[in-house]
Amino acid sequence: MLGAAKQRQEAHPPERADALADIVLLDHDGHDVRLGELWSERPVALVWLRHYG
């Protein structure tokens, strides 16, 4: 139901963001954003929302 996991999972954040760096997402204006560009010059806080609501 709701696509919920049957067994409890553990979050497993990486120590490095290499796997995130090359992911390209669209922003709210539909422009490509390569995630690695976000921290190329200064630290960035990335916040993953559960949902837009």
């Binding site: 990486p14 992911i23 997402l25």
Partner: protein, 130 residues
């Protein structure tokens, strides 16, 4: 959230939100809450997976802890922030991460259940020591 952004900027930190839907949903979310920071759309949840975010069990979604915290948020915000229609994977949890130039993850807090969100103060403290 915009006030938080100012604090992040003062701490020398960018702030970017990522949601699991389309750019149109992201734009609507941004307008609805009058957000100034970028909101990215990750319909395929690629970045969620790469960030190690978890899929919740039913207990982690709808357990007493999550429900009571949800009600608390609704009361605290006097109804201005309330659960809307869920778009995307309903059991996908989120989280937060600080990444420094060079790609090191200096701090992270990925949600353990639906009520588990990193506090702004916690993020700012981590940013200052990043």
């Amino acid at each position: 959230m915009n006030r938080d952004r100012e604090q992040f900027e003062a701490a020398g930190l960018g702030l970017v939100l990522i949601g699991q839907a389309t750019p149109r949903h992201a734009a609507h979310f941004r307008r609805k809450y009058e957000l100034e920071m970028p909101v990215l759309a990750d319909e395929k949840r690629e970045s969620y997976k790469a960030a190690g975010a978890k899929i919740a069990t039913m207990g982690e979604l709808l357990g007493p802890k999550s429900v009571s915290k949800g009600i608390g948020h609704a009361v605290k915000s006097r109804g201005s922030v309330r659960q809307g229609r869920v778009i995307g994977h309903p059991a996908q949890l989120g989280g937060a991460m600080i990444v420094t130039p060079g790609g090191r993850v200096a701090w992270s807090h990925m949600a353990d259940d639906a009520s588990d969100n990193a506090a702004t103060e916690e993020l700012l403290e981590a940013a200052r020591s990043a």
